[in-house]
């Protein structure tokens, strides 16, 4: 029984934390937040150089041959500092789609460039309000050409290519395609969001060339597997954010005095912080289980990913929301960083679908397991 990271992984975390504390300061985040650039290009390059982008990509494809556990470690640290870079889109999603569903040729073509940061990939599925569901998608591929509109595409304004979920004549409910976003028939419109430190766009495809991912035909399996994995990784980002918000709130509660004493000596504040700690702790434990399931390819991945996703979403929203409350009025100013975490917590809560589809995934996988145990 061992549900913790290894000493080596912990050293990697310490190194990543030191690097990011210096390199990805609130001032750096605010540069992207205020619109100076779409993402922090310098930081992106350095993350690639440190090998973080390729950490879960096999060495034969230019990765550093670590594994998912190492990527979880990095994800948590990126989440702590609200790193304004397209890691989720490119590393947790695009690269994973290629690893899980791509043909050897596609893997050879894309993975090395994703590992080196030379290419940025993303994933596009949602078309309208509500959770996107295979079978209701209106984007269509006919004769190798994609037509349709995808909205709320993370990094859609800067990504080089996208994995796009679409239907097609005689095709299964959802198939996955690789689409070059610099190619013909692609129009991008940047979208303002609740968290400008990450960029989003609407993508309109008009007969844009689209290449099936892998042999095609198992889009739904690939989709489920990659989204589960991304949920675990995103949960680590959320965990990092939750922990940071909790720490910031504790620090302020100790340092701010009112009524002749630290505000953190009031039970109203103390118990609010205790409840935040409880949320963050439950999330951490579920995240670790998710990391284990992802790294071992365990059958429990669906259940583990959904638990991690749900509790990390709740924890980050809870901690970020109450961090403002503990800070009082100053927490509602532009100058203080509380709102950056509040915004990010709500962005990440929706980035892979809101809670509803993950709730469904959790109870459905639990039910299947319980039925299997009985028979």
């Amino acid at each position: 029984m061992n549900l913790d990271f290894s000493p080596e992984q912990q050293r990697m975390r310490d190194a990543a934390r030191r690097f990011l504390a210096e390199r990805c300061t609130p001032a750096a985040v605010r540069k992207v937040f205020e619109g100076e650039e779409s993402y922090d290009k310098g930081l992106w390059r350095e993350l690639a150089e440190l090998g973080y982008l390729g950490i879960a990509i096999p060495e034969e494809f230019g990765g550093s041959g670590g594994g998912y556990l190492e990527l979880c470690v990095i994800a948590e640290e990126l989440g702590r500092v609200l790193a304004p870079v397209p890691v989720a889109s490119s590393t947790y999603l695009a690269a994973e789609f290629l690893k899980v569903g791509g043909s050897p040729a596609q893997q050879a073509a894309y993975l090395p460039k994703l590992a080196s940061g030379a290419l940025i990939g993303t994933f596009a599925m949602a078309e309208a309000a509500g959770e996107p569901v295979a079978g209701t998608l209106r984007a269509r591929v006919d004769g190798g050409r994609l037509t349709g509109t995808k909205t709320a595409v993370a990094d859609g304004d800067t990504a080089d290519f996208a994995i796009v979920a679409a239907g097609g004549a005689g095709a299964p409910a959802a198939s996955l395609y690789i689409v070059d976003l610099h190619g013909a028939g692609v129009a991008r419109r940047p979208l303002a969001t609740i968290d400008p430190s990450r960029s989003f766009a609407e993508l309109t495809f008009r007969a844009a060339p689209a290449e099936p991912l892998g042999v095609g035909g198992d889009g739904e399996r690939v989709l489920a597997r990659v989204l589960d994995g991304a949920a675990v990784l995103m949960a680590f980002e959320q965990l990092g954010g939750a922990d940071f918000a909790l720490e910031a709130a504790c620090a302020y509660a100790k340092e701010r005095w009112a009524f002749g004493r630290p505000i953190g000596s009031n039970q109203a504040i103390k118990h609010m912080l205790a409840d935040m700690y409880v949320s963050a702790t439950l999330a951490r434990s579920n995240c670790y289980y998710g990391a284990w399931a992802l790294s071992t390819g365990a059958e429990a991945l669906g259940e583990a990913a959904a638990s991690a996703r749900i509790s990390a979403t709740q924890a980050f929203q809870h901690c970020a929301r109450n961090n403002i409350q503990v800070h009082g009025g100053s927490g509602f100013t532009w100058a203080v960083d509380c709102h950056l975490y509040y915004r990010r917590s709500n962005l990440l809560a929706l980035a892979l679908g809101g809670l509803a589809p993950w709730e469904d995934r959790l109870v459905d996988t639990l039910r299947r397991r319980s039925a299997a145990t009985e028979h």
Binding site: G130, G329, G353
Partner: protein
């Protein structure tokens, strides 16, 4: 129990309605109705101009602060008539936003504590929107602990000199006057060394700087005072009685903020009625119905709590601290609703772009504004203290700074 007007009330309502029919600026109706948490957009017309113009027209006909006595710019309406007037003014009441602090808080304080001369001088233009007032209470070092303010008023031969800084002052940038709470004696326990003044916001040494809020708007300001000289006539109440005067103002603040609070229920309900998700009606999802029902009952509970307060008012009872529940409930409900709405929208929920966001970005703006409602005019925690102590009669918090001179209260760990 009766939701109908008495014959006299019906007659008054008719009067108000006829006047509104003839005078309301109907060109703004749609914009006012749709206004959420974004800035009000009147299609190129300056909002302050529109506000002042509407207030001027009301004043000319006796509808500006009509519950105030005639000699102070009002029409001497009864509390119930005032409620009926507000109902009939309806959505146009939102145009009075720049005057809300003056009408709701400064006015009543002047009425109770200013000299008769000052009341006749200041209240009528305040009512008519000709002069705008703000409230200079909170400071960077004194929010929930308001009695801990440090802005100094030092006695000089012909009056007082003010130095210090205020914060969270709504409308300071457009205000002509401000109600100022200052410390006149730092050597006595904190509640006893305060005095209330009013101040000319155009006086030398007053500097207003807008605060950029977390949601990108700037509804509040910092106000700096550098050796601002004021006369002793500008004092409201006795020297050292400022805390008592401030409590009048604050109770009026909580009433004003509490009564008009939206929970956002109507917005989420209407949106859910129309929304489809993956081909299914969102309204049929039992998880959605259950949340909607809880919020519906909470909203109607607040609405009828206000009705009960009006009933009490009409029977001659002064509304008390029990009205703190309005903001307490509405603030956190609004935050829940906004988070829930974004969740319903799925990945598209993050988009706040007016073009492309669900329901015009209403819920995204609500999400980003909601944290402030749980802080402004008394945090959730302060409101719970008020309810528990002043309504339920529970003992106060242990006060370590109670009998200590202000300038000896600990402010940081050693």
């Amino acid at each position: 129990m009766d939701f109908e007007d008495s014959p006299a009330e019906a007659e008054f309502r008719n009067l108000a309605r006829r006047w509104m029919d003839a005078n309301a600026p109907k060109q703004f109706e749609t914009a006012l109705r749709q206004a959420g948490f974004g800035e009000l957009n009147l299609g190129g017309i300056d909002v302050l101009d529109a506000s002042k113009s509407w207030q001027r027209r009301k004043a000319a006909a006796g509808w500006a602060c009509p519950h105030w006595p005639r000699e102070y710019g009002g029409s001497g309406l009864t509390p119930i008539q005032q409620v009926i007037w507000q109902q009939e003014e309806g959505v146009y009441g939102r145009l009075a936003t720049p005057f809300i602090v003056g009408h709701g808080m400064c006015g009543p304080t002047l009425m109770s504590h200013a000299s008769e001369d000052d009341r006749r001088r200041y209240l009528p233009p305040l009512a008519a929107g000709e002069e705008i007032w703000c409230q200079l209470f909170s400071e960077p070092g004194a929010g929930s602990d308001l009695a801990g303010i440090s802005t100094r008023a030092s006695a000089v031969a012909d009056g007082w000199v003010i130095s210090g800084q205020k914060v969270w002052t709504s409308f300071a940038q457009i205000s002509d006057f401000g109600l100022l709470l200052a410390r006149t004696d730092p050597s006595v326990p904190k509640h006893r060394g305060l005095t209330m003044f009013y101040i000319d916001m155009h006086a030398p040494g007053v500097e207003v700087r807008p605060i950029k809020q977390a949601n990108g708007q700037s509804g509040f300001n910092e106000v700096f005072f550098t050796d601002v000289r004021i006369k002793d006539q500008q004092r409201l109440g006795a020297v050292g009685a400022g805390w008592h005067v401030a409590l009048t103002t604050l109770m009026n603040e909580r009433l004003a903020i509490g009564s008009g609070m939206t929970t956002g229920f109507e917005a989420i309900f209407n949106w859910c009625c129309s929304l489809e998700r993956s081909g299914a009606r969102v309204f049929d999802d039992r998880a959605v119905r259950s949340r909607l029902a809880t919020w519906a009952a909470r909203s109607s509970g607040l609405r009828y709590t206000a009705s009960r307060a009006i009933t009490a008012l009409s029977r001659g009872t002064t509304p008390g601290p029990e009205n703190s529940i309005g903001k307490l409930v509405a603030g956190s409900t609004m935050q829940e609703i906004a988070e829930f709405a974004l969740g319903l929208a799925g990945p598209l929920g993050v988009v706040s772009d007016p073009v492309g966001a669900v329901d015009g970005g209403r819920f995204q703006a609500m999400l980003l504004r909601a944290p402030a409602t749980r802080l402004e005019g008394g945090t959730d925690e302060i409101l719970r203290n008020i309810i528990s102590e002043r309504v339920l009669g529970l003992p106060p918090d242990i006060r370590v700074d109670k009998d200590i001179p202000f300038n000896r209260i600990p402010t940081r760990s050693a």
